[in-house]
Symmetry: C2
Subunit: 135 residues, 2 copies
DNA sequence: CAAAACTCTACTAAATCCATAGAGTTTATA
DNA sequence: TATAAACTCTATGGATTTAGTAGAGTTTTG
């Protein structure tokens, strides 16, 4: 299941893509409109800024704004930053690969193949869906 | 990400489908072969028994066995019992539907559609994969 | 009766998630 | 240049989930 963090983050991004005319939007404004606890939202936006989706302007009249056009931001990128790996097990993750401790071998692992199928189909969808599609 | 509970449960089911000739298999045997903590495995098998996948025989010579042919057990059923909803948000779940507290409406929710797409594609895969396919 | 094997309840340690507090820094603008 | 607006950063705490353990109880075979 999606964490609230991811859900809030997605909604904030959509809000920015929809409402902003390029100028910065204040946290308080997003928080009120989307009904997201402000302090929690702050930390989420900070994450999105540090990973290159958002820019910020400090001080009076400041706020957050999209750094890239919504048509070029894929859900796969966003998901990885907010929620983590798209795969359901680390041993089939493309971006967060980790070896399985409890598996003798990936070749013979009974669930490996199913996990790859799920990963691929989710990846297809997330790679082909852009932020602009959610507006 | 899959919980260990689900992963262990899947492996135990595959083990039973592969190794058993209909007769009961002891917990200790599954535990050793699949490298799963025995006490933890006990509780997982109990869940699988209570939800109708496994039968058990008590006493000496007892153990667990599949109640249904592996060719008729879908991964979707198993996933729901072990891990929970297949959907990523409760408001698009078919079997575990819950209303969203933080959404004004599902019709206008920006992520609703994407979540449905993901659900449907995962559902397709899980419904079409049978326990027998993992052997 | 004794040993094997499942059943059930309770508990704990660790991790993660959600959220809040508060001090600090930067900037616009009057 | 003072002030208020607004982002930045660190720390913290409660709630929930996850992984695993302990141990007493029950059933069955031989």
């Amino acid at each position: 299941m999606l964490s609230k963090r991811t859900k809030y983050g997605l909604k904030a991004l959509v809000f920015l893509a929809r409402e902003s005319k390029g100028g910065p939007v204040q946290i308080a404004s997003i928080s009120k409109s989307e009904d997201i606890p402000q302090k929690f939202l702050e930390s989420i936006l900070l994450t999105l800024r540090k990973s290159g989706f958002l820019g910020s302007k400090k001080g009076k009249g400041g706020g957050y704004y999209l750094l890239r056009p919504a048509k070029e931001v894929t859900m796969a990128e966003v998901y990885r930053v907010l929620e983590g790996p798209i795969a359901m097990v680390p041993c089939v993750s493309l971006n967060f690969y980790e070896i399985c401790e409890d598996c003798p071998s990936e070749k013979t692992c009974s669930i490996n193949n199913l996990m790859k199928e799920l990963r691929d189909s989710n990846l297809d969808i997330l790679n082909q869906t852009f932020l602009s599609d959610l507006i």
